[in-house]
Symmetry: C2
Subunit: 209 residues, 2 copies
């Protein structure tokens, strides 16, 4: 399918709505209104509401895959540096596309749309393979511990970061950060998250910075 500017416009508005109302509760009329197009345009451009969701996942996960691949190709980095970059990049990506990662969270639970689930599985395999490679490299040079549970480790990273998406306001309240601006809070949260996940990874992998 050829993606035009119009596609992007509709996808991006749908993304917002799916994230705030949920996929099922978002009507095609909601999306059309938000995107400023006629109701029939969604079917005309995407075929159906479901295929619009699939197009959204295709689009977002394509760019994600590209960004991951560029990390792997950087050969000059040490295993420990690679791990840190993977963490930084993941947290940047979630912060950048918060709405999408919220949708992802729900879609994984529902586990219904086969196209979406296939895309998710592929991405996870790419991730696991990438990390596994880095870890094995680090194990050969005796920087990392033996017997690392890669998927468990990844689950902690994605779980912590995506869970923070829904715990954010609560985190802010508990730490008395209601006074500071939204953007400053978001920035600080990203810094804290990166530090936190890296600290965990260090403990799991056994290296010292």
């Amino acid at each position: 399918m050829v993606i035009t500017e119009k596609h992007i416009q509709i996808i991006s508005k749908a993304e917002e709505l799916f994230a705030t109302k949920g996929y099922e509760a978002t009507t095609v009329r909601d999306i059309a209104d938000a995107a400023g197009v006629n109701l029939a345009m969604i079917s005309y451009y995407f075929g159906s509401k479901e295929k619009l969701l699939e197009a959204l996942f295709q689009e977002r996960m394509n760019t994600t895959k590209h960004r991951i691949e560029t990390i792997v190709k950087t050969e000059t980095l040490s295993p420990f540096q690679k791990i840190e970059i993977i963490v930084d990049e993941y947290i940047n990506r979630v912060a950048e596309k918060q709405a999408f990662y919220k949708i992802m969270l729900c879609e994984q639970v529902i586990n219904k749309n086969t196209v979406v689930m296939k895309l998710l599985k592929d991405l996870k395999l790419v991730y696991a393979a990438l990390i596994s490679g880095v870890i094995e490299e680090g194990q050969r040079t005796r920087v990392f511990k033996k017997d690392i549970d890669v998927v468990m480790m990844l689950t902690t990273m994605t779980g912590t970061v995506t869970n923070m998406l829904v715990n954010k306001e609560y985190y802010r309240e508990f730490n008395n950060q209601k006074k500071i601006s939204n953007t400053l809070f978001e920035e600080q949260l990203q810094v804290n998250l990166k530090k936190h996940v890296k600290q965990i990874f260090k403990a799991l992998l056994g290296y010292e910075s």
Copy 2:
């Protein structure tokens, strides 16, 4: 509201359906059929579909709160023992009520039902207060580090465990555990999760077992 056996029956079937299809995609007719009652009974017993969801949260989170409170009351335990029990109990609870925690995940994203959100916030505050107390106790006796980010720590626990709910099959596949039985896999996963979260908490809190 007085909860009868019939209420429980409907709530429990609704829980299953909400977890597998999502709240919005689950129809009142689905629930009535699954529970073996007439369609009108859901309105008759709960008032509406939305209030049924609220009743589900009320019910499940009441029992959760009770179980948490009993942990706090055990005075003879050391801070480190308390932390370990909190982790064990949390993972047991999620394993026991997987469907409910899946619904919880989605409802937190949607953030729509105010009654549900209030219940969630209350529970989170109870949790944060409980952990904070234990951590402060451990800090006084110099067993735990200073400057612990409690909410961040909790987010890692809940994030890891609930994310594993949707990563489970993938975890199984990656670790070549497709041959073993479902119950055995679930048991092993619980053991691994407990070990994993405790290891992370040790690193974050700074104690050694």
